[in-house]
Amino acid sequence: MRIFQFLAIFFIAIFALMGLKYGLGLSNYLIPPFSEIWVLIFKKYYLFLYPSLNTLYVAFLGHLLAIFLAVTVAFFARTGSIFANLIKTAAYNLQSYPVVAVAPIVFIFLGDGLFSRLLIATLICYFPLLLSFLGIFSEPVKDVEHFFKQTNRLDSLTQVLIRCYENLDKIITVISGSGTLAMVGTIVAEFLAATNGIGYVIRKALYQNNLAAILSSLLFIGLCSSLYLSVVEFLGAGIKKRLSG
């Protein structure tokens, strides 16, 4: 459904662009003809599909890493201790700092390979995840936890499981949302300095002033993002259904 929605919006935008081109008599140099876009999308799709899949793969790894990091940090920061408050303050302050501005430093130190792309993708989707997990893990579910507390059965794992279950919808939403951010982060990293992925394709197209290639890249990015989000949401709904019986 999400993919069809995206395709509908994409082609409406393309037709609007064509309307603008032919309405205002703009040159092929500024806005390429529809046939050129058509050829790139359907005949030379491999120029965009494989880099998009490569980007999706890095975004997926970065997303997983960010979830793992956010859950781990939030787990240790959920208590009201000085250490926990320090982590919370650091997280709130650091997330206001644009990761894109830090990205060149990452490339300078780590080069333009996979690791840099992965790190930037992770950093971009990590903070929203961390803030959400911090909120969820720190908020007691009194009506469920009370019994375990009274009977001295409330260990850390039980506490976190209860809080996760009670906030399952919120967790699924934030994980889906941060999936988009992971994709964005990877593309930004590729656009800045990498030599792989769809961001790199867009950068090359920008230097060649090739709008048809940029539009084709956008289509494949959208398809990959929609596919990824659909899978995450499907898995989330499945997990929720299974857990709630």
Binding site: D143, V144, H146, F147, T151, L161, Y165, E166, G245
Partner: protein, 235 residues
């Protein structure tokens, strides 16, 4: 078995006025003791102070022959990913399996043990919650409106059953249901209307244990007495 809340002064952080000021209450167990009063008079706050969940600004709770106090209330839930049976088995000692089965049948819960908690009616949820507390180690169990959503015949059956089955324990039962409180309690602690409580009124209950229901006239008299005491404005 004695529980003494001595010179308690308590105020919630977000409130200007204290609920208790140098307040003292003594409860002698074992048996079924009720706390009765109008809404918002501080019954649940007192329960939380006695159980140690809240710390008073001044005063202390002294215990004699009471090691473990548990507090249960009616909106408690079990983790949603468990069925009733799985949860109960995970929080109950193996040697109490027999008692668990017996209580499940007596509480009318045998047919719903495979279900998730969220699929149960409010009354069933109340019963499951009470049941898991009864199967824990405790000397004193505070029941704060735990059967609020259970129908009257079932409630009467459960209260009679608890009294018969656990005569060596102290139960502190908090309820708005004056008739129920008068019927089942050995002693009733009445919260008068108002704030800044210093003392509470006490009266004898009818201590019904499921064998011979009290006479209508006697019950009526007790109910009037409890309502009368609860309506008095403290000085």
């Amino acid at each position: 078995m004695r529980l003494l809340a001595k010179d308690i002064t308590f105020k919630y952080k977000d409130s200007d006025q204290s609920i208790f000021e140098n307040f003292t209450l003594s409860i002698n167990g074992p048996g079924f003791i009720s706390i009765f009063g109008f809404s918002g008079c501080g019954k649940s706050t007192l329960a939380r102070i006695i159980s140690g969940e809240l710390s008073p600004k001044k005063g202390q709770v002294c215990l004699e022959s009471v090691q473990k106090i548990l507090l249960s209330y009616n909106t408690e839930r079990i983790p949603g990913w468990y069925s009733v049976e799985t949860h109960l088995r995970s929080v109950i000692e193996k040697e109490r399996e027999g008692e668990l089965k017996w209580l499940l049948k007596e509480f009318g819960l045998w047919d719903v043990i495979k279900k998730r908690f969220s699929r149960l009616s409010m009354g069933q949820k109340n019963r499951v919650n009470l049941l898991r507390y009864l199967l824990q180690d405790f000397d004193c169990l505070i029941l704060d409106e735990v059967l609020a959503n259970v129908d009257e015949p079932s409630r009467n059956h459960i209260l009679s059953l608890i009294k018969k089955r656990y005569p060596e324990k102290l139960f502190i039962y908090i309820s708005h249901n004056v008739e129920e409180v008068c019927i089942f309690s050995k002693e009733i602690v009445v919260f008068p209307r108002g704030i800044r409580l210093k003392t509470l009124k006490k009266m004898k209950g009818l201590d019904f244990n499921g064998e011979r229901f009290p006479e209508r006239e006697l019950l009526k008299k007790k109910v009037m007495e409890a309502i009368g005491l609860a309506s008095i404005m403290p000085q």
